[in-house]
């Protein structure tokens, strides 16, 4: 690393230092929404903004009351922690202080109202008589109690005409109706600024309460905590836990998946280190650019890990699959896929900034930054095999080999993609999804609950309080702000009419606005003179009361009120209540700060609140600036509307990004279209899965749609890129890139899925939907997309203009007439001369896909036709079939042409002619073979047999004869030549595509006395062969169909050719005679030619190179015959390695 790069660490370190947790859930929401503004103001300034609520629940009311009283007393004693602790309304403890609140409330009344009071008190006798009558006749306990201590009716405020409505509310704040549930309200000492302070204070309080419980044997009392300090501490600790658990959990699963796939420590450790660096870098960038992590955006860590690991996995997988490739080559090969994948994914997350939800936008920004960083880190720093040295490469290569030898997972990965199967499976999936979605799409959840904590003691306790104390679960709040008392008072007055109409229209049932208690400067100023006069009437009032029979204690309230008015009469500024009870009471609905004043009121939704969105309309009718009707129930609808609206704005650029990326990646509409179809089917699968699981859409997980659009498209890009690179070899694409994608999808789904345990319900649902969507996208891209791709592309190699050397060298061949793939790590593939084939729009076939016609059913039909039809008719059918095949199978046709090019000096025209003839000859050969296998006389078809003496000579030596031939002419017919002459012949064969066909062909040979030994991958098969040779028998072997473990590179027609070294190995092992044999069609029959025995020095064959040379010598013995009969060398899959073209 260059030295200056270390300078980058400075801003990164600054970013990490700057990073903070933002625990305010409402900060996730768009501030432009009035309902959000109102809620933010309410949560910040009211709702017990800085109070702890301790709930106590006991078996009986007395015990609960005693416990609450005792706890409050104990907490008050902890003066280092607590400013105040209330177990009942403070005015019950200090009732005399209530007078101040009443006095100020009167001063705030309109002057006319205050004048009415003045007039009333000017003649106190009537007032006192009325009070006495009420005391004598009232049945209301409240009225009796009030009138007893308020003989002049001073507590009967005009605005409090509905006072009985709130009867019991004061005590109801602290105790349930049955008294078994109580609340103690605790005010902390000092401001709890941040979550560390909240957590520390709460821990100290819990410890104190724990000690109190032990001292007071309060075991039977259940305690719970809520209030802002608990919420802050809980959310912050939940965020830390979520971040830690999701990161560690995702890393652990990534490590497990990597180990499962590769079983290699060093790359695993490197991968984890790079992921950690990426995460740290992303956190630092987040700290620099954003500064905070909120409850939603912290989910970025797991998502990022799940996505960034993909790039490392793709690099690693490709490097494993290309052991000989340099690091630069590997990176060059995979970097387009990684870059485009990073662009689309980062783009998808970046457009979350258009979602209207700032929290989600922050998540998108962080993931986008992290993905870009992750792609760069992985491409620059992830070591490939070339970087790691031979040891690692060898180790990983062993892994590949051992897996390709037959581990279950690899078998799954190598499942051959059949276009028809893919189309059928697609149809079946669509039908299955339609069944699930028959009853409808997953519903849309309108509530704001997804924003709330998923598992929260504070929230549960708050709900419990609302439930037990008889409050509303989702009340509405009215918040009014103003620069000064006068402005707030004007606004309070301004909204009165609107609210009254709302009550009349049953949109609201009740509105409690503390306008009576709000200091109204104008009213106070106007009422001061009257207050002064009333103060002067103190003695008169006292005398009148005593004369009316009221005791001295009945006048204490009146005295206190007059004292406040006396003070107010001389004031020049608006009067606020100042004593403890008044302050505590005012804090419920009044806040001062931020350069202004706030007042909060309470409203209850009415019967018609839901009609025509009446509440939302009412909220809009309030003055836009300075008055808000808000509540969680309003928030859900408002946000959902916003999210649904913004979803269009998110999806539109997302689609553009995706389409642009797809076009830039492929530059072919067919592949772009395939990617889109794959995305659509993934979406359908997701909807069906959601419906089956009973999930619903909500305002957070709706954003999974653009995310999945961005993430899901990657699988399609990678898979189609791999199909291109591998010339349409779907099995190979799956084994290399597909396996990497499997890991990628698993890790991505894990990253998203780990959010299911998030403490935020919305984030959890977003994670689950994304995990399901990613899984669906992968399954479609991996399972179905290759089939669609092959179905649409006739010539996949035309899509590979820039095949790497490694890619060209590592194509895998298939035998001409066998479906069994020869799984060689170094197989051959025909070169594609630049420009050739593409001009005609023709392409070679996939080497991994043998003809689907070669199967048991087709073979039996052929046998049947050969048995029952006249020879002429069979011949006609064969010619017709050849014609049809030549024109219907352009991929096969191109393969055959490519195979014949070296035999025609790369003269394409000549090779094409020969290829066409080859197809015709092949159909005739098949007809003859079916006749032969159906038991028709065969010897009469031979019109020449030359070199028999060579066989006799070899056989005479008694060490067995290895008859070598190629896929030339009709080699199967040669068997009877030997068996008719009394020789035992064993034919070596690979397994046929299905067991029934293998048996069929084995039985046909047996009919002619030819035994069959199925070799396949059985290493012990050759023991039997050596034994037979040792017994002097003859064994027939095809040399141009190399099995995986016997392949060697030899020279044929001056070019490299991959052949089987089985002949040389058997010669070394048994000392047998090696005799090449050719059986080709000549005229209307066949000519058999036994070529000169291939001589060798058995001892020299112990040398590996010599065995390879000997193989070449045997093969070159066929060159004249191949030149003479190129149209009978039947190979329908590529046979030449790429180097043969150079």
């Amino acid at each position: 690393m260059k030295r200056w790069l270390w300078l980058l660490l400075i801003p990164l370190a600054l970013g990490l230092v700057r990073l903070r947790f933002d625990v305010e859930v409402l900060n996730l929401l768009p501030r432009e929404l009035p309902v959000v503004q109102g809620l933010q103001l309410y949560q910040r300034h009211f709702a017990g903004a800085n109070e702890l609520l301790v709930t106590l629940e006991a078996r009986d009311a007395d015990r609960a009351e005693a416990a609450a009283q005792s706890l409050a007393k104990s907490l008050r004693a902890a003066t280092n922690l607590v400013t105040a602790a209330h177990w009942q309304p403070p005015w019950l403890d200090q009732p005399e202080q209530s007078a101040e609140l009443v006095a100020v409330a009167w001063l705030n009344q309109p002057p006319a109202e205050f004048a009415r009071l003045t007039n009333q008190l000017a003649n106190p006798t009537d007032t006192l008589a009325a009070t006495r009558e009420r005391l004598a006749t009232s049945l209301s306990p409240e009225e009796i109690a009030r009138a007893s201590f308020d003989p002049f009716g001073l507590t009967q405020l005009p605005a409090a005409a509905s006072a009985p409505a709130a009867f019991g509310r004061g005590d109801g704040m602290f105790a349930s109706a049955d008294g078994t549930f109580r609340v103690v309200i605790v005010k902390p000492r000092g401001a709890l600024a941040g979550y560390p302070e909240c957590a520390a204070w709460l821990a100290a309080i819990r410890a104190h309460i724990g000690a109190w419980q032990r001292e007071n044997s309060a075991d039977g009392v259940n305690l719970h905590f809520t209030g802002r300090p608990v919420f802050v501490a809980e959310i912050a600790s939940g965020m830390e836990r979520d971040l830690r658990n999701s990161v560690l959990g995702t890393l652990a699963i990534i490590a497990a998946l990597f180990w499962w796939a590769h079983r290699s420590w060093r790359p695993l450790v490197r991968l984890l280190v790079l992921l950690t660096l990426t995460l740290g870098g992303a956190l630092a960038l987040g700290g620099l650019f954003i500064g905070t992590l909120n409850v939603v955006s912290l989910g970025f860590a797991a998502i990022l890990l799940g996505l960034a690991v993909d790039y490392g996995l793709v690099l690693h997988q490709e490097s494993l699959a290309r052991p000989g490739a340099s690091a630069a080559e590997v990176r060059r090969e995979v970097s387009p896929g990684i870059i485009w994948s990073a662009v689309t994914t980062a783009g998808a997350f970046a457009v979350l900034n258009f979602s209207g939800l700032p929290g989600l936008g922050q998540l998108g920004t962080l993931v986008a930054l992290g993905i870009a960083l992750g792609a760069v880190v992985m491409l620059l720093a992830y070591p490939t095999n070339a970087d790691c040295g031979a040891q690692t490469a060898a180790g990983d290569q062993r892994t590949v080999s051992s897996r390709s030898a037959g581990s279950q997972s690899d078998v799954a990965l190598r499942s051959p993609p059949q276009s028809k199967m893919a189309l059928f499976a697609t149809l079946a999936l669509i039908v299955a999804c339609a069944c699930f979605l028959f009853r409808g799409l997953p519903p849309l959840f309108h509530s704001a609950d997804p924003l709330r904590p998923a598992r929260s003691e504070a929230y549960t306790t708050a709900e419990l309080i609302a439930q037990r104390l008889g409050g509303q679960r989702d009340p509405l709040w009215l918040v009014v702000s103003g620069r000064d008392e006068a402005e707030v008072a004007r606004r309070l007055a301004a909204i009165q009419l609107t609210l009254q109409q709302a009550v009349s229209n049953q949109v609201l049932t009740n509105v409690l606005l503390p306008d009576a208690f709000w200091p109204n400067p104008a009213h106070q100023q106007a009422n001061r003179e009257s207050a002064r006069w009333l103060t002067a009437q103190r003695e008169t009032l006292r005398a009148a009361a005593q004369q009316a029979g009221f005791a001295t204690n009945a006048l204490s309230l009146t005295e206190s009120i007059l004292a406040v008015w006396s003070r107010a009469a001389n004031a020049t500024q608006p009067i606020w209540p100042t004593n403890a009870v008044s302050t505590w009471t005012l804090e419920r609905f009044v806040a001062r700060g931020e350069g202004g004043f706030l007042v909060a009121g309470l409203a209850q939704p009415g019967a018609r609140a839901e009609t025509d969105n009446a509440l939302a309309r009412l909220a809009k009718q309030l003055p836009g600036d300075g008055a808000w009707l808000t509540g969680w129930s309003l928030l859900g609808e408002a946000l959902l509307g916003l999210v649904q609206r913004d979803l269009r704005f998110v999806l539109a650029p997302m689609l553009v990004v995706v389409l642009a990326s797809l076009w830039l990646a492929f530059r072919r509409w067919t592949e772009v279209l395939l990617s889109l179809v794959a995305l659509a089917l993934s979406g359908l699968l997701l909807l069906a899965a959601m419906q089956a699981a009973g999930w619903s859409w909500n305002l957070l997980n709706l954003m999974a749609v653009p995310l999945l659009l961005g993430c899901g498209v990657d699988y399609g890009i990678h898979m189609q890129m791999a199909l291109r690179r591998h010339g349409g070899d779907a099995a190979r694409a799956r084994r290399t890139t597909g396996r990497a994608l499997l890991l990628c999808a698993a890790t991505t789904a894990t990253g998203f899925g780990s959010l299911a345990w998030s403490s935020n319900a919305g984030l959890a649902s977003l994670g689950l939907v994304c995990a399901a969507g990613v899984t669906a996208a992968f399954l479609v891209a991996w399972g179905l997309l290759p089939g669609w791709w092959l179905w649409l592309h006739c010539n996949p190699l035309s899509l590979t203009p820039a095949l790497s050397r490694w890619e060209r060298e590592n194509r895998r061949p298939l035998s001409a007439d066998s479906n069994a793939p020869v799984t060689s790590a170094r197989a051959d593939f025909p070169p594609l001369p630049a420009g050739e084939g593409r001009g005609e729009g023709e392409m070679p076939p996939s080497p991994s896909k043998p003809s689907s016609l070669y199967g048991g059913l087709a073979w039996r039909l052929g046998l049947f036709a050969a048995r029952v039809l006249p020879r002429a008719a069979v011949g006609f059918l064969c010619r017709a079939a050849a014609f049809a095949y030549w024109h219907a199978q352009p991929r096969r046709r191109e393969v055959v042409i490519q195979n014949l090019l070296p035999l025609h000096g790369d003269d394409r025209a000549s090779a094409t002619l020969a290829a066409r003839q080859l197809v015709r000859n092949f159909t005739r050969k098949l007809a003859d073979l079916w006749r032969f296998e159906s038991g028709a006389p065969v010897m009469e078809t031979f019109n020449a047999l030359a070199g028999w003496e060579r066989f006799e000579a070899a056989h005479t030596r008694g060490r067995g004869v290895l008859l070598i031939t190629l896929h030339l002419g009709n080699w199967e017919l040669g068997g009877p030549i030997f068996t008719h002459k009394g020789h035992r012949l064993l034919a070596l064969s690979n397994p046929e595509p299905d067991a029934r066909l293998t048996e069929l062909r084995q039985a046909a040979r047996a009919r002619w006395g030819v035994e069959t030994l199925i070799v396949g991958n059985d290493p012990f098969a050759f023991v039997e062969v050596i034994k037979r040779l040792g017994a002097g028998d003859s064994v027939a072997l095809l040399l141009d169909r190399p099995a995986e473990k016997s392949v060697v590179e030899v020279e044929l027609f001056g070019r490299p050719f991959l052949a089987s070294n089985a002949a040389a190995e058997l010669a070394r092992a048994s000392g047998c005679a090696v005799v090449p044999v050719v059986i080709v069609r000549r005229g209307d029959g066949y000519a058999a030619q036994i070529l000169p025995e291939a001589a060798y020095d058995r001892a020299a064959l112990n040398n590996r190179d010599r065995r390879r040379e000997f193989t070449g010598e045997i093969l070159r013995a066929f060159e004249p015959w191949l030149r003479q009969h190129p149209d009978q060398w039947y190979h329908f899959v590529p046979i030449w390695p790429a180097t043969a073209t150079k």
Partner: protein, 231 residues
Amino acid sequence: MRLLGPGVVALALGCFALATCPSRAADTNAIVNAWLASQTNLTTWQAELTQTRALSTLTQPLTARGRVWFAAPDRFRWELGEPPQTIAVRQPAEVVILYPRLKRAERYPLDAATTGPWKDAMTLLDAGFPRSRAELDAAFRIAALTETNGLHTLALQPRSVAARKLMPEIQLTFSPRDNVLRATQLRFTDGSLLRNDFTNVMTNPKLADSLFTPDIGADFQISEPAKGMKR
């Protein structure tokens, strides 16, 4: 956090002088059961009453005359004042308080969901006419039974804490001879007393249903204080 309204202040003032006091209980099952047994035969009941309120804030008790009608199991009508200043009509589902002079009516629902002091107060008003021992025990604890001048006085303590805080004790005075209710007395936490002395008691008279149907004039202002609703 709940917003406090003016009613809270009113309550605070109401609680200004309330205090608690201890209570006692006695084993008087036989007498109580006998009295309760007689109550089962009671279908209707009416009486004139003199209500005396001895409040701690008044130097002299206040008295008011009135009438009361009861129909089993749960209907009654109280009238206080002459002419009536306050009329309380209890129906199965609600209590309606009428203030004829003030042209005001208040409805207090008594459904199961209703809780709070008014529900407790209604329970107390019902206390004079318990139908069974179980019914009595559900609402009250028997604190004492005393005999004075040939009359038994049963002291009951509300089981509800809220009711007990309002009225820690209620006394029922009845004659053991005819098991007729003679008086009730409510004692408030501040020591205030509310006593009803019944005269001209009639057992099982025929009562018109209209007695238990509140006659709310069209010009009355009706409120439901328990719900805070107003029209």
